[in-house]
């Protein structure tokens, strides 16, 4: 088995009295694409936000290459390696498309302007956004914004990309363009954790599917197993509800 890039041990997170993550254990290997599915409120996004340290875990630990991300690593360096793509894009409104992909490189990675620009152009081309480098985020469609957000994440040369429901805020006809970029990424060997409601993506693209329910990982396995022959009652219920919609 390949080396574990991220290992999560007994992760817990409560907001006040309200426990959201109760005991999460899982790890992801290099090059793996893991889809996390589950109903709203099951803790999927919170888990992802804990991995990026946007939320501080209240218990357990998260290891990155065997090192505790809270105590043994510098937050900014770690985040540059494990970047996040959001449901609401979160592009920088005051910067144009190109600058959005440059700013992280120059500030966090200390790259020169020219190098950062070249790198940004390279990734913007991969997501098909080169014609729009001068546009401001407000001038783009949702699908275009999300592709820029992916290019911004890629420009950091990360080891892992966390996707937090990247297509949930998009119009149906724009979902495809974003998913196809993600599929390419997965095929190129990027390590990805994808929280998603796109069951087709989870089934066809990911190497492993995790079903979360009520703050726990309820079931996980290869997509064929989870979708084809779910073992747990909760998984069956969720999938039947979802697929019958």
């Amino acid at each position: 088995m390949a080396e574990h890039v991220i290992e999560i041990k007994h992760l817990k997170k409560s907001f006040g009295e309200n426990p959201v993550l109760k005991d999460i254990d899982f790890s992801i290997s290099k090059g793996e694409t893991v889809s996390v599915i589950g109903s709203s409120g099951s803790g999927k996004s919170t888990m992802l936000r804990c991995i990026n340290l946007l939320e501080t875990p209240t218990g357990g630990e998260i290891l990155f290459h065997g090192k505790n991300i809270q105590t043994e690593l510098e937050v900014s360096k770690y985040r540059a390696k494990v970047v996040m793509v959001f449901q609401s894009f979160n592009l920088f409104n005051n910067l144009n498309v190109l600058q959005n992909c440059v700013i992280g490189q120059t500030t966090v990675l200390g790259r020169g302007k020219e190098e950062a620009r070249k790198k940004a152009m390279e990734y913007l081309e991969k997501v098909g956004m080169t014609p729009y480098i001068n546009a401001k985020p407000r001038q783009l469609s949702g699908g275009q914004k999300q592709r820029v957000a992916i290019a911004r994440a890629l420009a950091m040369d990360p080891e892992v990309i966390l996707f937090d429901e990247p297509t949930s805020a998009l119009d149906p006809e724009m979902v495809g363009e974003v998913l196809s970029v993600m599929k390419r990424l997965s095929e190129s060997g990027m390590t990805m954790i994808v929280v998603t409601h796109e069951m087709a993506f989870a089934r066809d693209v990911s190497d492993r599917v995790i079903f979360m329910n009520d703050g726990y990982i309820c079931e996980q396995g290869a997509p064929e197993e989870v979708f084809g022959a779910p073992k747990r009652e909760e998984t069956k219920n969720f999938l039947s509800r979802f697929l019958n919609q």
Partner: protein
Amino acid sequence: MSLFEDISKVWSKYGDTILSGIANTVIISIIGTLIGLLIGLINGIIRTVPKPKNPVAKVVLTVVNWVINVYVEVFRGTPMMVQAMIIYWGYAYMNAGSTLPLIPAGIVIVSINTGAYITEIVRGGIISIDRGQFEGSASIGMSHFQTMIHIIIPQVMRNILPSVSNEFVVNIKDTSVLNVIGVTELYFYAASAAKNSYKIFASYLIACAIYFCLTFTITRILRLAERLIEGKENYTVFGSQSDFPAEIHVSKEESANG
């Protein structure tokens, strides 16, 4: 004797002196507003620093925040005329009677006073920025300071410019209270023209007209600045007008992971 004759009389005799007061009024209010803005921005950045884990840093931050709060409350809660007297004569009291030069003293007073108001304006400006902007930059590793300088403050500046223009206009008018410490600005000369010519109404009408011309010009200039910051509505499309589907540009050989 008609009012017009009064005005022209005062103007021909004291016009030059009154106009010479404009320079000080403008200098004090421009520099005062700019320094006030700087104070406000720095305070805004400090006030929004996330709680540090280090206990010493936590205590330092709490104390600094407390000092900023006291500063804001005290300087917003007292009249600038009183602040001018206290700062000017307080300095003299503590330095064996030697006083501050008047123009710098005026600038200091206006800066500190404006800083207190703009601190609150900046705080409102930062609160109004979507949390996603902070998370977007945090998620790729940018620090609080980097986020503030490159992402948040530019957006805050655009949003608070109307309020800052407001402060600027207030300052042009309120430098008049600095005459209590003897700063020779527009109001000071208008008042002395009134005293010397006994044409009080005419003298202050002239001052009024000049104040209005100043504030009106400045609000127009700042409105223009707002539009410049806003930027163009359009953008140039590079290469082609059509939006290529993503697949066309992604080649398999180019591994995204390097």
